[in-house]
């Protein structure tokens, strides 16, 4: 079943070039997403995209409500700004996979549980 049209887009960051996100958390989140019926964007590493100012960051930031599974909200917010693609003040949820448990993060990403999501 498709998500409602007003549901936020989902962006998952795999943090592929460092070991700072616990592997069991990101693997669980990715597994839950791939087992769901939800369409989503998966990026290898938001840091790497910001460093080369990937235009996709503009699409993520400017495409309406979005839920981003990545790391600390302060880091994610300023990463987007560093690429001159600032996230809007409203309509952005950031799930911190560095501190959430695998189950909390996955539940927050698919929207069944919003309590552990940090919102900026």
């Amino acid at each position: 079943m498709s998500p409602p049209t007003n549901a936020p887009r989902i962006v998952y960051c795999h943090c592929a070039y460092a070991q700072v996100v616990p592997p069991e958390v990101k693997q669980h989140v990715l597994r839950v997403l791939t087992e769901s019926e939800i369409s989503f964007e998966a990026v290898a590493d938001l840091c790497e995209m910001a460093a080369r100012r990937d235009p996709c960051l503009h699409s993520i930031a400017g495409g309406g409500p979005v839920r981003i599974a990545a790391c600390y909200p302060r880091a994610v917010r300023w990463l987007f700004s560093s690429a001159e693609a600032p996230l809007p003040e409203q309509g952005v949820e950031i799930i911190n996979m560095r501190v959430a448990t695998a189950e909390e993060a996955a539940a927050a990403v698919v929207g069944a549980e919003a309590r552990s999501a940090e919102t900026i």
């Binding site: 290898a44 790497e48 300023w78």
Partner: protein
């Protein structure tokens, strides 16, 4: 290795909408995790949901279990970009990476990966534009914008795993998202963090006026001891211990400590950066530091 130059990268769409059959979830997971680990971004499209916002540029590859044979290549009418289609029927999930790497080469897009994206990110909500990071950084990562605002000018110059500039920032405004501990990793800044970070700066000052002078003096002392005692092993050991202690306190790679410039050099560097920003040297504000 430096990051790929700003340019086009191959985007991947795993398409399971109209005209294609679903991919088994276990295969979907393997395909996506393999591609992500190799640095590719993947959009998982289910039921034709519009997850790809308008305005995206660059070639992309559409992978799926198509019910009818698609063309191997087409052109995006809006952008003129090349669009590749590949049927995954009969393709083992862990072979998708080689298929995509072939398309990446064919499309002439940049090869992803190969660089740990380690660079500072400025929290402008905290930054006071004091320029301490610019004067401290040995690698010309920082620059000054036309409006005299500090900015990260050359992220790929940053020394991997070196968070030294964040240590001298009095406002804890410099993040390294891949750093292991807060608040440098982007965790919220608490009052005690500000005190702790300031203490670290003070510790370096207490070593002898400033960290540079202290290091130079330790180096001179070690050389004098070497000359006096003709004991090279002891002098080297002393230097190693000093550097190890500083490295532990500040979490700075030893090769960075060994390359620290003098205070005069860093003052001159700051003045040059500001002058460049004001256009006095004729170059654009973001021009790289001369050697």
């Amino acid at each position: 290795m430096s990051p790929a130059a700003p340019g086009r990268s191959l985007r991947i769409l795993l398409f399971e909408g109209s005209g294609s059959r679903p991919v088994p979830p276990a295969d979907r997971f393997v395909m996506m995790s393999t591609l992500l680990q190799r640095g590719y971004a993947v959009t998982s499209v289910r039921h034709g949901d519009p997850v790809t916002p308008a305005g995206r540029r660059g070639p992309f590859a559409v992978l799926g279990r198509f019910t009818a044979t698609p063309p191997s290549e087409a052109q995006d009418e809006a952008t003129g970009d090349r669009v590749f289609f590949r049927d995954l029927e009969g393709t083992a999930p862990d072979s998708v990476a080689s298929l995509v790497e072939g398309l990446q080469a064919e499309s002439g897009t940049s090869k992803p990966g190969g660089w740990k994206p380690w660079f500072p990110v400025i929290d402008y909500g905290r930054c006071t534009n004091c320029m301490q990071c610019l004067t401290f950084c040995l690698f010309d990562v920082y620059g000054v914008s036309a409006d005299k605002q500090i900015r990260v000018q050359s992220p790929s110059n940053c020394k991997t795993d070196c968070p030294a500039c964040s240590r001298v920032c009095p406002e804890v405004a410099i993040l390294f998202p891949k750093y292991k501990m807060g608040p440098i990793n982007g965790d919220e800044v608490r009052v005690e963090d500000i005190h702790r970070e300031k203490m670290k700066v003070d510790i370096s000052a207490l070593l002898g006026g400033d960290i540079y002078a202290a290091l130079r003096q330790r180096s001179v002392d070690a050389k004098q001891r070497f000359l006096r005692e003709r004991d090279d092993k002891r002098a080297l050991e002393e230097r190693r211990k000093c550097l190890a202690k500083l490295q532990q306190q500040l979490d700075i790679p030893p090769e960075v400590l060994l390359a620290l410039p003098s205070q005069d050099q860093i003052r001159a560097k700051a003045e040059r950066a500001i002058a460049r920003a004001e256009g006095l040297l004729g170059g654009p504000p973001g021009a790289p530091e001369e050697a």
